[in-house]
Symmetry: D2
Subunit: 163 residues, 4 copies
C-alpha cells in the first residue's frame, strides 16, 4: 500500500516571510505524520521551506519540477521528478496529492488551487489574503478550508483523511 | 506572419446562460476582427458558444482538447488539437493566446486566468462574480481588465494590442 | 466538419538535404489536397521545409512548438500552438494528425513514429535508413508504410483515408 | 543530496515472459544498489515486475502514471505520480531517470528509448529483438548499450555512473 502524499503549494521568490515560516513548519509536521511531502521542487520560497522542514523531521520529499534538470532545484528534495513542461506540471502536483495545502497565493499557486478543486481535491489555505479566501470559498465551497496556523492545518487534514 | 490568436476561456456544462450568450457574441466579434479564436474545444458551454459565434462570422476556430480524440468535441472547431492531457492543457491554451477573455469563472477557467497571469498575459474578465474580480485584480493588477459587454471587451483587446 | 490534418515529422538542424527537399514537396502536395499541415513548428530542417512547401501552395500550417513563445518558430507557421513542454509535445503532434509522414529519422522523429503507432495511427516513412524501416515495420506491421517519393507518400495517404 | 533514480521501461500486457522475468531481477538488483526505481507505474508487464522485484529487495519505487488516479496502478509502487497525460508522460519518465533500462520493445518503450536519446541519456537494452538493437544503435551510437542479462545490465550502469 502506497504511503500518503500531500502537497504544499506556494510561491517561489515572491513568497512572504510569513508564508515561508508557515511552510517550514508545515513540512515538519507533515513529516511527523509519516506523510510524504510533494512540492513544486524549486529552491525558493514555500517549496524550498516546506522541503527543508520535512527533512528536519526525517521526512521524504518529492519535487515535481518545471524544468528538465537539476537547475533551480531545492537541495531538500529527495525524489526529483523532471517534467520539462513548465507550469503545465501544476496539474501533476495536484493530481498526485491526497490533498493540497496552499501557503500564500501567487499566480502559480492560484492555478494549483483551481486545478485541485477541478480535480475534486480538498484544499487548505494558509497565509492567504481575504480576496483569495473569499474567492476560493465561493468557488470550491466545502472543499476549501482555511487554517490560521500550520498545526491547525495538519489537524484539518487528518480529519479529512478519516472521512 | 502568423495571424493573431486570442483565447476565450469558460466553463463547459456549468456555464450560465449569460456567459454562453456573451461567449457567442465574443466569438462573433473576434472573427470580425480577423483574429483566430482559441478555446478548450469541447461541445459545451462557453467553449462551444464562442466557437459557434466565430463560425457564424466566418472565423477560424482552434480547439485545444483535453482528450485524445473527437469525443466531446465541438462541431464548431475547425482545427482540433488533441492533447490527451486533461487539464494540463490549460497552460497550452494561455501560452498560445495573445490575450485571454474569461467568460464566467469555474474552477478550470480560474486555473487558466491564473496561468495566463503567471505567463505575463493580459486577461479580460466578463460575466464574473465580484469575488473573482476582486481576487484576480489583487493578483494580476494592471494585467486584469473587467468588461461589462462583449463589444467593450473586444475594444479593450484592440487597445491592448496597440501597446 | 473539421478539415483533415496530417502531420509531417522530421529532424530540425540535423535533417539531411534529401529529407528537407522531400519535406518541402510533401508540404506542397499536402496543401494541394486541401489538407492542413501539422509540424513541430520550428524554423529548421523538415518542420520548416514542409511548412514552406505548404505555404507555396497556399495551404494552412499548424506548428506545435516545444517552447512557450515565438523564439525558434518557423515563419511559415500560420497557427502556432505554444506548449512549453519540450519533447512531451510530440504526443500532441501525433494525436492531432489523421496520419503521420516521417521524413528521415532522428531521435525526436523516432519517438513520434513510436507514439503514433502506440496511438493506433498509420505512419508513412520517407528518406529513412534501412534499420529504421526494418525496426518500425517489425513494430507496427500494417500500420507502417514506406514510400520512395513524396507523391507516392501522398497517394498512399489518400488510399488510407478511404478505408 | 538526492538519491540516484534509474528507469526501467517496458511493455504492459504485451510484455513477454522473458522480459517480465528480466524486469523482476533488474528491479531487485537496482534496489540492492540503493538506487530508486522509476517505472511507468502500471499493474502489468515490465512495470509491475520491476516494481515487485525492487520491493522484494526493500527498494523504493516511483511510478509515473498515465492516468489521474490509482486505477490500473501497480501495488508495488511506493510513490505514484499521477500525470493524467497519457503517453506524453513518457518524456517525464526519461527526464527523471539518470539512465534508462529498456526491457523488451513495444511501441511505448520505443518512444521512451527515443526520448531518452533525444535528452542525451544512456539506454541499456535487454530482451530486445535484433531490429531494435540495430536501429537504436544506429540512432544513439555510444549512448546505447546491449546487455544479455540483468546483472550485466546493472554492471554496465554502475560503470556509466562513474564516468
Amino acid at each position: 500500500m502506497s504511503r500518503i502524499i500531500v502537497g504544499v503549494m506556494g510561491a517561489g521568490r515572491d513568497a512572504s516571510a510569513e508564508a515561508r515560516e508557515a511552510a517550514f513548519e508545515l513540512g515538519r509536521l507533515i513529516a511527523r505524520e509519516g506523510w510524504i511531502l510533494l512540492t513544486g521542487g524549486r529552491n525558493a520560497g514555500v517549496m524550498d521551506a516546506a522541503s527543508r522542514g520535512a527533512k528536519e523531521a526525517q521526512g521524504l520529499t518529492v519535487g515535481i519540477l518545471p524544468g528538465k534538470d537539476t537547475e533551480g532545484m531545492s537541495d531538500a528534495v529527495d525524489i526529483p521528478i523532471f517534467t520539462g513542461m513548465g507550469q503545465a506540471r501544476n496539474n501533476i502536483n495536484v493530481l498526485s496529492s491526497r490533498l493540497v495545502f496552499a501557503c500564500g497565493i501567487g499566480a502559480g499557486t492560484a492555478s494549483e488551487i483551481a486545478l485541485a478543486l477541478k480535480a475534486g481535491k480538498k484544499v487548505i489555505l494558509l497565509c492567504c489574503n481575504q480576496e483569495g479566501i473569499d474567492f476560493f470559498r465561493a468557488l470550491g465551497k466545502e472543499n476549501v478550508l482555511v487554517a490560521a496556523q500550520p498545526d491547525e492545518a495538519v489537524l484539518m487534514a487528518k480529519k479529512l483523511m478519516l472521512t
